[in-house]
Amino acid sequence: MSGWFGGYGGQFVAETLVAPLEELEAAYQKAQASEEFLGELDDLLNRFIGRPTPLTRLRRLGVETNGCTLWLKREDLTHTGAHKINNAIGQALLARRIGKQRIIAETGAGQHGVAVAAACAHLQLDATIYMGRVDAERQAPNVQRMELLGAEVRLVDNGTATLKDAINEAIRDWIAHPDSTHYLLGSVVGPHPFPTIVRGFQSVIGREARQQFQDAVGGLPDAVVACVGGGSNSVGMFSAFLDDPVRLVGIQAAGEGLGPGGRHAAPLLYGEPGVLQGTRTYLLQDDDGQILLTHSVAPGLDYPGVGPEHSHFKDTGRVEYRTASDDQALSTFALLSRAEGIIPALESAHAVAGALELAEELPSGSNILVNLSGRGDKDLVSALAALRERDGADR
């Protein structure tokens, strides 16, 4: 494993973390070749997570815009409600093999935190979850879930008190306890080997979806769309289609929708390469290299960096990166609920919003596969409040 995706990636970490990262890489490589590990993982994916998740054909959205068919890969139907559990259970199993009893993790939307808490409870590991105070407030039900599942939730007040700050605190904890603790990173970000390991555990999404699409329709979809925060659900989905003649589209958070000058979380569109949290990748930064504040209504997308493989895909052009704004995501949150009976996570609503825009540009009859990364239960309070504020009395 090289740890580089073109000129992106690497291992820019404190010397203290080099040994545990090397240990993790070796353990992952051994596990990938172990029938026992793969068998146990498969069993957990089927019987604990509820895989395979279905592929749902939408009846109205897309069809009514331009005669396009939207197919949703239903990661919202996994146990704990988002794709995050695919990686959480895989890494927790790996940590147990290495002999690390204590697990730490960061969480933004709370979905990764809940997934880690559930995986650790199931495998009887100890979980400590770092979460920005702002995120904890806007995703309160997930804090309760983590605690009910037996995890310790540590709130972080530094910086903007969101995902990046939670990752900083988790890394500091790991620097203090490199021997006893596994850092269960939740996306394809951070130092090598995390981007490769997390992609590996999330690639089940793309493998299933590609087969399911072939079974349902025959052939391949015309485009595949996913939202890109750190980039794990998208890389997991795209990984099965990289060699296919299929358009791959990643949707980043445009926040206020004012382009590079407004508040947003779209480093792949408005950022420049730099080094943050162990990896070289596109970042939102100022002229002095300080990391900028970000904004998205979706906490899971509210991050100034992105997985290094996406930076490589951007430069090679293999994946096209577009945006959806807070406003579009909120409208789509309500629309998908009413028109199709599916309440999406605000993160996933960005993907659906992006797919609906794409549907208007594609020829009638096109098939668009969208990864619905998670469900919206966690967002009800904040999304309904935001919709009420936006639409005022006329709702």
Binding site: Q11, A19, G159, I175, G274, V275, D288, Q290
Partner: protein, 263 residues
């Protein structure tokens, strides 16, 4: 490199004392005075921190100082200016620039090393740059004859220690313990055995940092290492003082006590 080599020349008789200060804390003018006070009280090397928004290797004390410096608008360029100002006072103590990768990369490595050399800095200490990712930095460090310091950690394998020490220019920064920077009450268990391993792997001078806060710590390390590095303990004393005169006095007092223990 000349000034750095000189600072460690007599280290078996007297441990070199490295004092960490954050550029622009509590403000840029005062940093110049604090550097001078630390040197007058016996600091042999100054480690000057350029602030970064996400200092992953730092605990609360240093984080608070870099946040304050950032709020005041201190940049890499301002940090380089500060070095030039210190040199203008006639101070000839080696000054190592400490900072995280991103602001330095953003400044541009060729320009960074050129400007650092002309400002009178002696090299770089970059806690999120392991030797294995450092080839571009080392090219520039060689070109300008500046130091480029890498780290040893308690968990580093013997092979890793050997290769890291080989690449480190100026000295090897030996992390006394796992964890981020911060004041610690006592030295880590097993430190002596670990220092012996580092010593066996390194031909460069070895300086120990992280948690070194008291004269007893420094005294316990005499003869076992070439240098000791003090940061959080100094900034904590400075932060507790309320006037600039007191800040100078606290710096003079702590550095003086620690230097005494070096001899």
């Amino acid at each position: 490199m000349r000034r750095l080599e000189h600072a460690f020349a007599d280290s078996q008789r007297e441990t070199a004392l490295v004092a960490y200060l954050t550029a622009g804390y509590p403000n840029l003018d005062e940093t110049v005075n604090l550097v001078d006070a630390a040197c007058a009280a016996g600091a042999d090397i100054i480690e000057l921190g350029a602030p970064f928004s996400d200092p992953l290797g730092d605990g609360p004390v240093i984080q608070a100082t870099t946040q304050q410096a950032l709020r005041a608008g201190v940049t890499v360029a301002a940090t380089l200016d500060l070095v030039a100002k210190v040199r203008a006072t006639g101070n000839d103590v080696p000054i190592m620039l400490m900072g995280y990768c991103n602001p330095f990369l953003r400044y541009g490595l060729p320009k960074l090393f050129a400007d650092a050399a002309s400002a009178g800095a002696d090299g770089f200490i970059v806690p999120d740059l392991p030797a294995t990712e450092s080839s571009d930095w080392l090219v520039e460090a060689e070109r300008h004859n500046l130091g480029q310091v890498f780290f040893a950690a308690p968990g580093s394998s013997p092979e890793r220690l050997r290769r890291t020490a080989q690449k480190s220019r100026g000295f090897l920064y030996c992390l006394a313990d796992n964890g981020v920077t911060g004041v610690r009450d006592r030295l880590a268990d097993g430190l002596d055995a670990y220092l012996a391993r580092v010593r066996a792997a390194a031909t460069t001078p070895v300086a120990v940092g992280f948690g070194i806060s008291r004269p007893e710590h420094v005294a316990a390390l005499r003869g076992k290492v070439d240098g000791v590095i003090v940061g959080s303990a100094l900034l904590k004393r400075i932060g507790a003082a309320t006037t600039w005169q007191q800040r100078i006095a606290e710096t003079t007092a702590l550095i003086g006590e620690l230097k005494e223990a070096c001899r």
